[in-house]
Symmetry: C2
Subunit: 144 residues, 2 copies
């Protein structure tokens, strides 16, 4: 350890390395459903936040609207999302998950979580409790 863990910069170093490494491991566990990462992310966003317009989805995923057009087209072609007209504005559309989309997303999530659940089972209950609390703190860190 180059820096002491008891200082704030020391904690920042350690936490950054730990979080980035675990994130890499988790990412590597993703099932290759031949969906690109962006496609998967769009699907997940629709699942979490419900139906959205293409532009909203693009902003949420930090992608330009034309790129999202292609993502949506690909997802629609595979029957994972559905477009419906906007109730009051005929320029806009609403994109939402289909049952198939929800199913694929659940399967993918299950596979990624399987690896992590297995690892978590090897910990002591106290260690899991620490992670539970840490998870809440990490969320607050990300939001600020």
């Amino acid at each position: 350890m180059p820096q002491q863990n008891s200082t704030i910069p020391g904690l920042a170093v350690a936490l950054r390395i730990s979080v980035m490494r675990l994130a890499r491991r988790l990412r590597a566990q993703r099932s290759d459903t031949s969906l690109s990462l962006t496609q998967l992310a769009a699907l997940a966003a629709l699942d979490r936040r419900g139906q959205m317009t293409p532009t909203e989805l693009a902003q949420h995923e930090k992608v330009q609207p034309p790129s999202m057009t292609r993502v949506i087209a690909a997802l629609e072609e595979r029957g994972l999302v559905r477009r419906t007209p906007h109730p009051t504005d005929r320029r806009q559309q609403l994109v939402e998950l289909t049952t198939d989309g929800r199913r694929l997303l659940a399967a993918d999530r299950r596979r990624r979580e399987a690896w992590l659940s297995l690892r978590l089972r090897e910990l002591t209950p106290q260690e899991r409790e620490t992670l539970r609390q840490a998870s809440l703190i990490l969320d607050r860190l990300s939001q600020s």
Copy 2:
């Protein structure tokens, strides 16, 4: 919250989301030295593990050798890495960081940690202690 946080799968869901989100935030903090993420990752790998051959580096970063050839060429052009002949096998090369490469990497790391340190300062000492312990547990999770 779709799942309870008190079960192991529930913890797996929560932890995965927390870790991935914080990792995205940390990644976004990277200084835009106009190096691609892959280039930066290769540089970091050389820093962590010392000199490597292009093929080793490609395997480590999960890209194909031709892609790594290009990454190395770009880094070499900027004077961040240096190639040296392999001592016993003339087919191979060894790639290592230059002083400039090490310096750029350190600057980038500092910038990312500055953001994190700032956030950590807003926490209570108890919360920081929780994160300290969690960091060690996360490391063990990644290694297994």
